[in-house]
């Protein structure tokens, strides 16, 4: 997604947080399997850590229901891996589900006209080389979306409304097309996009949370069961673990904002703003939900696409959201421990140690520091890996060569010296904290202590 900016410079994409997320999913898969095995054993079998009187209480039923809400992060994890692993299956499913036909199948009478489908095909070939444009035969829907039909088979699915826009206002339609080219240029079509199980799982998250996370809490409060007070802390801990969903959401939002920035770099920010207005004026529901940033945020970023603030925010987004997640874990866990009868000071110490152990891990933050330092050098190669969108420049090879020399790293990602220092310093400080020895508060805490056969026997 290395775009030649309207002012002539080479613009480098922000770090690929979505791909980094998938890499962490692969890393966490074994520990996730172990964690779920423990949860199933504790909550759903007779070999669990809870006594028969606790299992028989209504509060325990609420705890079980809340645990189901924790399936979502795991489901997102599995969906992300499946999306990347099985693009052919996804392409086949997407084509059937969204009734996609090739652009040429429309049989337009003046296909050769620049404002017709022939012109669209030519522009798509120039801004997203190798991508095939498909048309969705649903009456209503988002204008354009990307998906993968294979490891190297890239598709852009456009709606009938987009085809009409292409004739009515080609500049806005081109901006939307460039947004999708931005996704393709970063390889995000393999993870997100049309028919992606990953985005589907993220989109389903609010409903699952309300049904299995919030509803049991309301039920517990309404019943006034004597055993309920015993389960409140556990339920709060369950909810704190579920907050991990904010990480994939932030990664998806970054991908969208980076694609907007790519489009703005090629066709100018005005065209992107107009295209966003066109979408907003459609009056239809924005079904992106968690998978797309709010319209106002996108417009705010589009207005500042030429400055250094948005690139800095996109470069900082990964570490920042992990730290925010750590803060949320600390808050929830402290509340849970206080509900369980711990004093505030002890609860806070245990929560901080938990966040230190689970979120501020040394391998993860080492990788983030490495990425922050090396990204200016890696970005051109990353773009080449995905057959970088030429975006109307016609200068892929030469530009990549120059960028690879490190020159583009200084000039191309839009970061000033202070912003670059912040991008490197933030994960470096977090890594330094991660390297500090654990206080051992979690191991001493009877509630938070890692569960195992011996721990279960103790309880």
């Amino acid at each position: 997604m290395r775009a030649h900016a309207a002012h002539g410079g080479v613009r480098l994409p922000p770090p690929p947080w979505l791909w980094l997320l998938v890499c962490t999913y692969v890393w966490e898969l074994p520990s996730g399997v172990v964690w779920w095995r423990e949860q199933i054993r504790d909550l759903w079998t007779d070999e669990g850590a809870y006594g028969p009187e606790v299992v028989a209480s209504p509060g325990f039923a609420a705890l079980r229901a809340s645990t189901v809400s924790q399936l979502m992060p795991s489901l997102v994890l599995v969906a992300g891996l499946l999306a990347v692993a099985l693009p052919h299956l996804r392409g086949w499913y997407t084509r059937l589900r969204y009734r996609l036909v090739p652009l040429t199948a429309l049989g337009s009478t003046d296909a050769a006209a620049p404002q017709g489908v022939g012109g669209l095909r030519d522009v798509a070939a120039s801004v997203a080389p190798g991508a095939t444009v498909m048309v969705s035969l649903w009456g209503k829907g988002p204008p354009a979306r990307v998906y993968a039909a294979g490891w190297r088979k890239r598709r852009i699915a456009v709606s009938l409304g987009f085809l009409a826009l292409w004739r009515r206002d080609p500049a806005r339609a081109r901006a939307l097309l460039l947004h999708e080219a931005g996704h393709l240029g970063s390889g995000e079509h393999l993870i997100a996009g049309l028919g992606s199980p990953f985005t589907r799982a993220v989109q389903a998250w609010p409903a699952v949370f309300l049904a299995f996370g919030a509803a049991p809490l309301v039920w517990l409060a309404w019943r006034h069961e004597p055993t309920a007070s015993l389960m409140w802390p556990q339920v709060v801990v369950v909810l704190s673990r579920a907050s991990v969903i904010m990480v994939p959401v932030a990664a998806l939002w970054c991908a969208e904002l980076a694609a907007d920035r790519h489009a703005a770099a090629v066709c100018g920010r005005r065209a992107v703003e107009h295209a966003l207005d066109e979408i907003g004026a459609g009056g239809g529901r924005t079904r992106g939900g968690l998978t797309h940033p709010p319209h106002r945020l996108r417009r705010w970023c589009a207005e500042r696409a030429d400055g250094s603030l948005v690139p800095a925010l996109l470069a900082l987004a990964g570490p920042v959201i992990l730290l925010v997640h750590a803060a949320v874990v600390v808050c929830f866990t402290t509340a849970a421990l206080v509900l369980a009868g711990d004093p505030w000071s002890s609860a806070a110490a245990s929560s901080l140690d938990l966040a230190h152990r689970d979120v501020l891990t040394v391998p993860l933050w080492s990788a983030l520091v490495g990425l922050a330092v090396l990204w200016p050098l890696l970005a051109p190669r990353w773009s080449r890996l995905w057959a970088a969108a030429t975006a109307g420049s016609g200068d892929v090879g030469g530009g990549a060569g120059r960028a690879g020399s490190g020159d583009a790293g200084r000039a191309g990602d839009g970061l000033g010296p202070r912003a670059r220092a912040a991008v490197i310093m933030l994960p470096a400080v977090a890594l330094a904290v991660a390297l500090l020895p654990s206080t051992g508060a979690v191991e001493r805490d009877p509630v938070l202590r890692p569960a195992g056969p011996e721990a279960g026997a103790e309880r």
Partner: protein
């Protein structure tokens, strides 16, 4: 679209003509959507509905397209339109502007023909009764377009343009086109619209609703 190449050619010609009149920006997909609509089934249903659970892309939606809703409105108003177009009292050329004016006057409670001799585009050969028939058809098509979420003014414009185009070519198979769009031939003959034979599985699936109805009827008779 049940009668082979002639039917397809008629659909294509009329789809292009109506798209040029009612939605000039949508001519690229006029033929394909008309053929898909005429075939019926899931393709037709999808054309007039929202895509399922779309999660990614540029977010949001564009302004709704006109043609899929227009095919649906024309098909649903098929009988009324055929009556209006086949009426012997309806005379020569009727413009979109005249039809729009007639529709507005009809809504205001005035006679559609009043004032047509004034500042409005002159339609010397059409009288009040004749316009009333067409205005009723336009209003019906517009109502159905609005049911698809279209703005009333845009719906009136699209409906009037389409009816004017149909009226202009009423001797060239406009009624037959409407019948094809509504799937009359397909329903009457019971043939599959695409013209290709069904597979055994599809034939069985198509019979399921009928079997269900039969079972319910048997249950009630007991």
């Amino acid at each position: 679209m049940s009668n082979g190449p002639d039917a397809s050619a008629r659909l294509e010609a009329w789809a292009t003509a109506i798209a040029s009149a009612s939605a000039p920006h949508e001519t690229d997909f006029a033929v394909h959507t008309a053929l898909t609509y005429a075939r019926g089934g899931r393709g037709r249903r999808a054309l007039v509905r929202r895509a399922p659970s779309v999660t990614a892309g540029s977010g949001g939606e564009l302004v709704t397209t006109v043609l899929p809703a227009l095919w649906d409105a024309l098909a649903a108003s098929c009988e009324l339109l055929k009556t209006a177009l086949g009426s012997p009292v309806v005379a020569n050329g009727v413009s979109t502007a005249t039809l729009l004016l007639a529709v507005h006057r009809r809504r205001d409670g005035a006679s559609p023909a009043e004032g047509t001799g004034g500042s409005a585009p002159a339609e010397p050969a059409t009288g009040g009764g004749e316009l009333l028939v067409l205005a009723r058809a336009v209003a019906e098509v517009s109502r159905r377009l609005q049911a698809h979420g279209m703005d009333p003014a845009a719906a009136d414009q699209a409906a009037a343009s389409a009816v004017a185009a149909l009226h202009a070519g009423r001797d060239e198979g406009a009624g037959a086109f409407l019948g094809l769009l509504a799937g009359e031939g397909r329903d009457a003959s019971g043939e599959r619209s695409a013209g290709t034979p069904r597979t055994g599985l599809r034939r069985l699936a198509a019979r399921v609703p009928g079997l269900r109805r039969s079972a319910r009827a048997r249950g009630r008779s007991r």
